[in-house]
Amino acid sequence: MPVFYPLLAVNSAIPLSYFVLASAALFSIGLGVVVVKRNAIVVLMGVELMLNAANLNLVAFSRYDPDLKGQMFGLFVIVVAAAEAVVALAIVLLVYRRFQTVDLDEVNEMKR
């Protein structure tokens, strides 16, 4: 009796261009957040969106790649993004202790 995987069956019906469009939208949202928002934590979230947009692309493309190189890269990206987030939060915490704010417009000692 064949096992039926509903998720897989649905997935295989979705053409590649949908994934590319979704990841492009995710990337644009992330980019917009980074450019527009002034809170350091929110900007960080925007950066994560951009990284994950790239990840979505990598995994979607690797469906057509017998070696699954894209998925391997995706794993590396997740690890690197985690390491980056650790450093980022440490820096933001330090900045908060010194400046009492995480608003990027107010963290501006250099211009004075």
């Binding site: 692309n57 690797s62 890269f73």
Partner: protein, 468 residues
Amino acid sequence: MLSIISLSLFGILNLFLGFLKSRRVLLPATLLFIALAFAANLLDWNHQYVYFRDMLRTNNLFINFSSIILLTTFLTVAISRSFGTDEEHTHPAEYYAIMLFSVVGALMMVGFENLIMLFIGLEILSVSLYVLTGSDKRSLRSNEAALKYFLMGSFATGIFLFGIALVYGATGSFNLSAIGSYVSGGPTTGISPLLYVGLLFILAGMLFKVSAAPFHFWTPDVYDGAPTLFTAFMSTVVKTAGFAALYRLLTVSFTGVYGLWWQVLTGVTVLTLLVGNITAVYQSSVKRMLAYSSVSHAGYLLIAVAAKTPQSPSAILFYSLAYSIATITGFAVLILVAEQKPIEGRPDERYEAFNGLAKRNPLLAFSLAVSMVSLAGIPLTAGFWGKFFVFSTAVDRGMTNMGMVLVVAVLMSVVGVYYYFRVIIASYLKTGDSEPIGIRPLYRFILVLTTALTIGLGLFPDVVRQLF
């Protein structure tokens, strides 16, 4: 390859050395580690190896670039001190270890054969530098610089990574030569537009890391806010590794679409030269001037990349070497001079701080003068030959393509003379206070060594160039 593995292990070893009561062993140990890695690196001379299923490739070009990186790291570590006066809150072992780790990233960027390695190398280098930038934990400016560097840097990483994903979508591979054969082999359906977009995204990410205009806006603030020692480290190692990676990526993978990227790069080059040199003129702080000067030197290096002649790698190598040595000397003198008379607890980095330096310490003044002359590109110094080799690659490419860039580059070198000579004029012709400045023996040795190298390479450039 051995150098990458040994540096990673040495970095961890360094962390353990931090547990020792005495901290005096750290500096010699780190210097020894770098020297060992340098020696291990040379073992592969004249051999070609490919490691880990086409992930890394070592050849003579790799060894040349990594030797320059290791040499600059050695010089930077040698001029480092206790990282602050307060024994309780300084962590020299960690900083040395992070520096070694970031060099591992830089070496991976030089030897990558696969875009995965490029990405990971770039990230190891960048994340280490975010930490080092913020290492002066109690300084507001250092914290601010770290935050800015991190946000801008990870933004650039996001763009860079998206570019890699698109190139993967177009070519189905991360391998440099596989991408190269797709691009130049001319697939039957034509090159996918995804590849062009991906290439532009990757270029934007890489140009950001080497601080080329219009992606340079983070450079002055970050270089200014970071502790001067790490500014020296950033402006030399990242530039060398970034240009090695950029050149390798563009020539191995994207030679087939040279018509697309040389135009982008020449535009960026002209902009970088103009912005870097002209803004440097208006700075009142020497540290900020050196930051803009590093932007302008990215412009000169880009000329050699955009020209893409067989001489380009050796031109990039020589220029990076000359630039790195002169920049380290400049920053080394700046560190000593700036801490003599702090203003409001901060080192005094204005031009005025250099007044009368020749009387206070002739060696400092002389090595500063030689390094500035070399950065300006005056003959009899290494910097002149660096510029000469870079400009000659542009001439080889042809005046119709590169003529405009050459004109701008030559004009801007003249502008450069103005702001570099301001420091020399301050130290030799102006009068300041006459309190002498003392130097430690190792510091003195490094200054003499870099000055001798700058003059030596200026007199006999072929000694090194025949290796390249």
